[in-house]
């Protein structure tokens, strides 16, 4: 399981899991799950397009993910953001479908882009992936305080002089970059699962941002490592395990929290999670 051909899978999987959990923490906090779903799909279209014109897929991934992010960011100011996201998503997917129709791409390659092919990561892809990941984490660190404040209390943060629109666009750019590097590893559809399941579970457990963030990363790593292990032993696609286990983590943590709350309910008046007021 730890033989040489699996090394790249473990390294790239670990990078993706950490990044998805860190980005996902803010995605869940800001309620921007739809954008987090749409942007990797845009990246998928980019990979298909890059394949068609014969450039490095990573370039196509980054360009299209950024285009999706800016499309959502710009249109959201005129329309409801969920409508803007839906329209950006279908536009990207339609372009992807056209690229696929025009190219002679082999079906397993398409599946790999959608559902991930963790064994397909080559050694010379690790470095760019790692660099992109580090820049995303640095971006999150720089944005940490304004992002947290504008996620929880947008009015308060704009009153304190935070440029909410700028923070929003910067965050979407980080989502785009992290999607672009996750798509080849876990696939366009399942990048999203890791971004939502573990962070949503972590938020149920702790209300403190730093603790919830750390827990989210831990749960995400556990999910992805377990998924790689299961995929290795059963030969079934990793996407299946990533998708179902992420959801399972959320459901189990939620069940556990509910049980422990009902047990402690009469012992101490429990302060509930600070509900995010919209």
């Amino acid at each position: 399981m730890f033989s040489s051909f699996m090394t790249n899978a473990w390294i790239s999987g670990t990078i993706v899991a950490i990044l998805a959990a860190a980005v996902g923490f803010f995605v869940v906090l800001r309620g921007s799950a739809f954008a987090a779903h749409a942007i990797p799909n845009g990246a998928f279209a980019g990979a298909a397009g890059a394949n068609l014109v014969g450039v490095n897929p990573l370039v196509g991934l980054v360009v299209f993910a950024l285009a999706a992010a800016f499309g959502i960011g710009v249109t959201s100011r005129r329309t409801r953001s969920d409508v803007a996201t839906a329209l950006a998503l279908v536009t990207m997917l339609a372009l992807g479908a056209a690229f696929l129709a025009a190219s002679t791409q082999y079906e397993p390659e398409v599946n790999a882009l959608l559902f991930g092919e963790i064994l397909g990561v080559s050694s010379n892809e690790i470095l760019p992936v790692a660099l992109l990941a580090v820049s995303c984490v640095l971006g999150l660190l720089v944005l940490y305080r304004p992002l947290l404040l504008s996620s929880i209390a947008p009015d308060l943060s704009s009153a304190r002089g935070v440029n909410v629109v700028l923070v929003d666009v910067a965050f979407l750019v980080i989502v785009a970059l992290s999607s672009a590097l996750s798509v080849p590893v876990v696939g366009a559809l399942l990048t999203f699962s890791l971004t939502i399941g573990p962070p949503a579970a972590a938020r149920l457990v702790s209300a403190r941002p730093a603790r919830a963030l750390a827990l989210s990363v831990a749960l995400s790593l556990l999910t992805l490592w377990a998924a790689i292990t299961c995929s290795y032993w059963t030969n079934l696609p990793i996407g299946f395990f990533v998708g179902t286990m992420s959801a399972l983590v959320y459901v189990m943590v939620r069940g556990g929290v509910a049980v422990s709350r009902s047990r402690h309910a009469h012992v101490r008046a429990r302060t509930t999670m600070p509900s995010v007021t919209t």
Partner: protein, 300 residues
């Protein structure tokens, strides 16, 4: 007109089926979509297509009629979202996301098993992206019945649904069971989305559900007009998309047509841009908001 309608276009049986089913799906999606956009449930509407897709893949493995797979999985998904919690707006986002994530995981498994068990290629893309040209004529009666059921159901609950979409508190105060109206709507959304996902694929399903209604709500001052306009925009985009896709077969020397979904989505986007520009032009000319420039979002 030969440059526009390639020879044999209307004599082609699958084109005729495509035009009829496409129009049906466009109208059902438009009507359901107006409520979806008003309620801010675009994400759920899109997620249900992916859930339905997982069901479609499962049905094709289990050799069940695909329509039941699509619609059944959609309804199950809607139930799961409700169980996790779709009442509060922020919870809704997570609930939809968790169900969507699980469904894509299952799709990954089912599609992998399909590629193992069949030697035919293109199944994955057909299930994911759909093709209105490949709908079997035997699906037509079932699809028509389901589509009509959704329209009738929505007509029955339209007043409480509208009320609880615009102001849940007011609706509750007037004795409307907001939760159950919401569940009823989700079920109808799931059926409509499952239906359109099998007929036109998951991309177009979302495009027709959100695009034409969002365009029509920009310019229609009254809700009844929004329904009519959204349906018209949806049908126009679908029909022209089918015609252009058919024509595109002759555009390239490679005899490789572009997919219907590509053309329909582009037409939907053109309609969205044009209606937005028109709304802004009218707003600027009259100087006051004749129609609400954006659907009113009532703060809770």
């Amino acid at each position: 007109m030969r440059w526009l309608f390639e020879p044999g276009l209307f004599a082609n049986g699958s084109v005729r089926t495509a035009l009829v089913l496409g129009a049906l799906v466009a109208v059902v999606s438009a009507v359901v979509g107006v409520f979806t956009v008003l309620r801010g449930q675009s994400f759920a509407g899109h997620a249900l297509t992916d859930v339905a897709t997982a069901g479609g893949a499962a049905a094709s493995l289990a050799v069940v009629a695909p329509l039941f797979g699509f619609v059944g999985a959609g309804v199950l998904g809607a139930g799961a979202m409700d169980a996790i919690g779709v009442q509060r707006v922020k919870d809704r986002d997570v609930a939809t996301g968790v169900v969507l994530g699980a469904a894509t995981g299952l799709s990954a498994l089912f599609l992998y098993l399909i590629t193992l068990s069949t030697s035919t290629t293109g199944t994955t893309q057909l299930i994911l992206f759909g093709s209105v040209f490949s709908v079997e004529p035997s699906t037509v009666p079932d699809a028509v019945v389901l589509g009509l059921l959704v329209l009738v159901g929505l007509t029955l609950i339209r007043r409480p649904l509208l009320m609880s979409s615009i102001s849940p508190e007011l609706a509750a105060a007037r004795g409307i069971r907001v939760r159950w109206v919401g569940v009823g709507f989700m079920v109808m959304l799931a059926v409509a989305v499952g239906l359109s996902a099998i007929v036109i694929g998951s991309i177009l399903s979302t495009a027709l559900l959100i695009g034409p209604p969002a365009s029509s709500l920009k310019v229609a001052g009254r809700l009844s007009r929004a329904f009519v306009l959204a349906s018209a925009l949806g049908v126009i985009a679908t029909w022209w998309g089918v015609v252009l896709a058919y024509d595109s077969y002759y555009w390239f020397a490679s005899r490789r047509g572009l997919p219907v979904s590509f053309f329909v989505v582009m037409l939907v986007m053109v309609e969205f841009v044009v209606t937005n520009l028109y709304a802004r032009w009218r707003y600027w000319r009259v100087g006051t908001a004749v129609a609400s420039p954006r659907p009113t979002k009532v703060e809770a």
